[in-house]
Symmetry: C2
Subunit: 319 residues, 2 copies
């Protein structure tokens, strides 16, 4: 009901709306409306009230409340169900639990802050409250487990693309799944999978983006959108657009396969054509980043002229 | 303590052992020993008692009790911790839960019967009580998710090898993971995985073998060791030997890679060189089974002379 009331105000941002009118539209008493408006005020929504005219929504809180995200969210799957936490250990862990309980594809867990956020290979991911967006989505793509890297790349492409659209910043992807601005990491992606040998049961796609985090509180080599100059973006807006971009790329992938994602990746690549060092737990190897193949593997051109397919590892640019 | 008492008897199968002697060895009172022996009797163990001589273990129950499996189990990892159920929904599901709770690699869930046993792609797997062996093991191999099929093939090779060693039956593997005797399925394998893009967190390896199941109670195309003529094998013995074979192949794989497993697979293949039809959810395709590659994929020689790599699907022999 809170959401319905908010939406009435949002559709009429410049007008005052009387309690009478809302009462008729929603079929509840004016006393009930007043209670909801009080509740919304406590959550940070502000209403200007003018006698005889009614109410107008004058401010929304800087929060990732599902009502905020869903307003204008033009998706069929991703974000249709949003589970919100002020603080949680890890959105990925919670989302994984929900997927095990058969929550549907597209279910999204959002938190304002995380206390045990994790990145690839159990690396920590700093998630201070109200400073970034931290969320995880249940996906159930009809792919084989070995195709999982495609989903990670699809997510990286979506993040880079949304940042480039919403800000004037140039967001680039460092294979496999870091998104960089001015060579500093602004986004981390962690995909986790539950699979059999010939079926993916579900994938949890987790994304964290530093939005207004101060660089002084971030680890070395990390940055935030705010620090790079994007100061007028709200977290809710970024999250909403990103959910839409993810869905759009996900549906494209289902329909046309991985090739369009590869093309997008090439547009956003931070390493294509550059000399890079790949560090994995088994080896270190240098070469030129020549592209990604149809499975999402990095193609490295070695100094001896041969090409090598890299399935996993960390990439460093060599200067 | 039950296990310790049993082991004293087992090491002296032909002698009577006095309560006095056990009491001294284990440092517990004769009254306590008597209580344990009564408890063991209730579980199906039989003791011949002769006044002045003592006890002798005269019969063990046909059960998969951890004490039964562990006696003579020469492994370092697999089966060192066994969790036993008379009946459970699915050993794989339970084992997966334990892995999520950080149970160590090698932890094994065994059940005498399963009510919701599952095979590949959620197919049911009949698991009548006391008729077969049904178990699942936590593995934490240092591999990438895309290498998971290797673990499935390793398991199939282990099952075929143990059946061939313990019985005079010829057990063959139908790619990827069915074990057949006289073209009928005697064993099913289900591997489930929890992974990130560049790390496997754990794999649950589930195996079901029909041991003394009557063919009339099995689905079409299925059989049991007993029905094929192996009548003097106990389920406990089969399970113990299989855990040992799995560990031995698993350590071999860790040390020498997948090549030795591929060679074993070739020895046991039910399809190598034969004309087969591959049925997957996306296509049907015929050709000659030419081998498996270094990743465990099936290599199919098509009628046009080309080779095709098959990553997943069901295989039928074409006559």
């Amino acid at each position: 009901m809170d959401e319905k009331i908010l939406n009435i105000f949002r559709k009429n941002p410049d007008n005052y709306i009387s309690g009478e009118e809302i009462s008729q539209k929603l079929g509840i008493s004016r006393a009930a409306i007043w209670k909801h408006i009080e509740k919304l005020r406590q959550r940070g929504y502000d209403f200007a009230a003018v006698p005889h005219l009614g109410y107008r929504l004058s401010a929304v809180p800087d929060r990732l409340f599902p009502e905020e995200i869903k307003f204008g969210l033009d998706t069929k799957i991703i974000g249709q169900r949003i589970i919100y936490y002020d603080v949680i250990g890890s959105t990925n862990t919670k989302c994984y639990e929900l997927a095990e309980k058969d929550y549907p594809q597209g279910t999204t867990v959002v938190a304002e802050g995380q206390t045990k956020a994790k990145g690839r290979l159990s690396r920590p991911w700093l998630s201070p409250r109200y400073k970034g967006i931290y969320f995880s989505v249940i996906l159930k793509p009809d792919i084989l487990p070995m195709q999982m890297p495609k989903i990670t790349l699809l997510a990286a492409v979506s993040v880079a693309s949304v940042i480039s659209k919403l800000t004037r910043l140039s967001a680039l992807i460092r294979w496999p799944n870091d998104v960089l601005i001015n060579r500093r990491k602004v986004c981390g992606i962690l995909t986790e999978m539950n699979a059999e040998a010939d079926r993916v049961n579900f994938i949890i796609l987790g994304i964290g983006i530093n939005v207004i985090t101060k660089r002084s509180s971030l680890p070395k080599g990390a940055t935030s959108l705010f620090e790079e100059g994007a100061k007028d973006i709200t977290r809710a807006q970024l999250l909403r657009k990103l959910l839409m971009e993810l869905e759009s790329n996900y549906l494209l992938f289902k329909k046309r396969g991985f090739a369009p994602i590869v093309r997008e990746w090439q547009n956003f690549s931070a390493i294509l054509g550059s000399r890079v060092k790949i560090i994995s737990h088994s080896e270190k190897i240098e070469g030129q980043a020549a592209g990604i193949d149809s499975e999402g593997a990095l193609i490295l051109r070695l100094d001896n002229g041969f090409q090598k397919k890299i399935l996993a590892g960390d990439v460093e640019l060599v200067r």
